[in-house]
Amino acid sequence: MPVARDEAIVLRTNKLGEADRIVTMLTHRRGKTRAVAKGVRRTASRYGARLEPFMHIDVQTFQGRTLDTVTQVETIDALARPICDDYDLYTAGTTMLETASRIVAAEDEPAVQQYWLLLGGLKTLAGKAHTPRAVLDSYLLRSLAIAGYAPTFTECARCGAPGPHQAFSAPWGGAVCPQCRPPGAAAPSIEVMLLLAALLTGDWATVDQAIVRDQREASGLVAAFSQYHLERSLRSLPMVE
């Protein structure tokens, strides 16, 4: 079947030749895939705007010998507009796209849960009901959980001793009890641990009530946890304020 039609979120674009782009997308059914969009950098192209990062699209591709080509594209949700109009949304959103691209490492292998999580995350980000950082932190924890690195913020990640505990170790997967605590583990307060649990479960009432100092500390721990399990560090994360 040379033609495929799917819903997708545009993860990134790269210039190709004079006026084309290679578009990397996370599709609903096919997982991560790449396709050439011909002539989109020229003025006459009507596709260009629809194939920008963050766009939620309905896309048709033609299977080529080396790379697929975009033959048709319609906008489902123009998420790029609200996200790039606000610099804080942009840096948080870009980190979400980079994370999705990294976690869904293989091309053309379905990643349905990651697809819905990213779509939901970007829509929540664009909706501006919560701080961009909280949306990003929640996304990072859940994305890693789907990928098999579910953190624990209550019982001990090593021995299962019921929590809450006041020690956190990224290599061991989250909360650690006083017996299992490795040297150099972070020592967050109970409030920060509860906030992290709320970010993981999407308990926005708790997240939105958190004080700024706890939010900062939780973000630092989420960053440490993400960077550890993603092996290579995310380039865009340090640019999130």
Binding site: V40, T43, G48, E52, P53, I83, T94
Partner: protein, 209 residues
């Protein structure tokens, strides 16, 4: 290490491959084009090739970036910054020198430029400190500039860069405008035709208050 003796053929193949590799690193040149250009050069008259090589080396040696605006220049300041007929009160901020060329073609703009050297692109590791934003802020300190036109590309990176600049500039007493919509979103500014770009300049919109 190869145990094969080095023959004339090996050296020849190496030189051709080096040429193809170097050409292939140029923007917009794929492996096939690189090969085509390489064999064109090999077929060409030695004098023509020498002229091309001289032009490359001379351009690299003599062309520099304007100390004021970051545009390509042959001296410390570019022709536009040095031109007394250009208005000092308006600065148009663009991503690349080629955008200056595109805007100059419209003949709509009589002010000066500021070339950022790209757009904010976190996935590629390009943040605000990698662009000439500090230099822009420095140019606005003396209060001469009344308006800053944000003419970054109408795509995600360009819009986000404009959003960042607009936020930085709110601290300064200056009118901030953005090129009017009508420019193709997702496109490069350099591809916009004169009429569209000229219209976008005339209808530029105020950002913030």
């Amino acid at each position: 290490m190869s145990t094969k003796p080095t023959t004339i053929k090996d050296v020849y193949e190496g030189a051709v491959q080096d040429l193809i590799d170097e050409l292939g690193r140029l923007p917009g040149v794929g492996p096939k084009s690189a090969q085509r250009i390489a064999f064109h050069i090999l077929d060409a008259d030695p004098a023509d090739v020498q002229r091309l090589a001289t032009a490359l080396v001379e351009a690299k040696a003599r062309v520099r970036f304007c100390d004021v605006c970051g545009n390509v220049a042959q001296a410390e300041t570019c022709q536009i910054c040095a031109d007394p007929r250009r208005i000092d009160t308006v600065i148009c901020v663009v991503e690349e020198s080629k955008d200056v060329v595109a805007i100059e073609r419209t003949r709509e703009f009589r002010g000066k430029y500021h070339v950022l050297g790209g757009a904010i692109n976190p996935i590629d590791g390009i943040g605000p400190s990698d662009l000439r934003i500090r230099e822009l802020m420095a140019r606005l300190q003396d209060g001469v500039v009344q308006e800053v036109i944000l003419a970054t590309d109408p795509n995600v990176e360009g819009e986000a860069t404009a959003a960042y600049l607009a936020r930085m500039l709110t601290a300064i007493e200056v009118k901030i405008t953005r090129l009017a919509s009508g420019l193709p979103v997702g496109g490069d500014l350099e591809f916009a035709d004169e009429v569209t770009l000229g219209r976008a300049f005339e209808g530029r919109t105020l950002i913030g208050s």
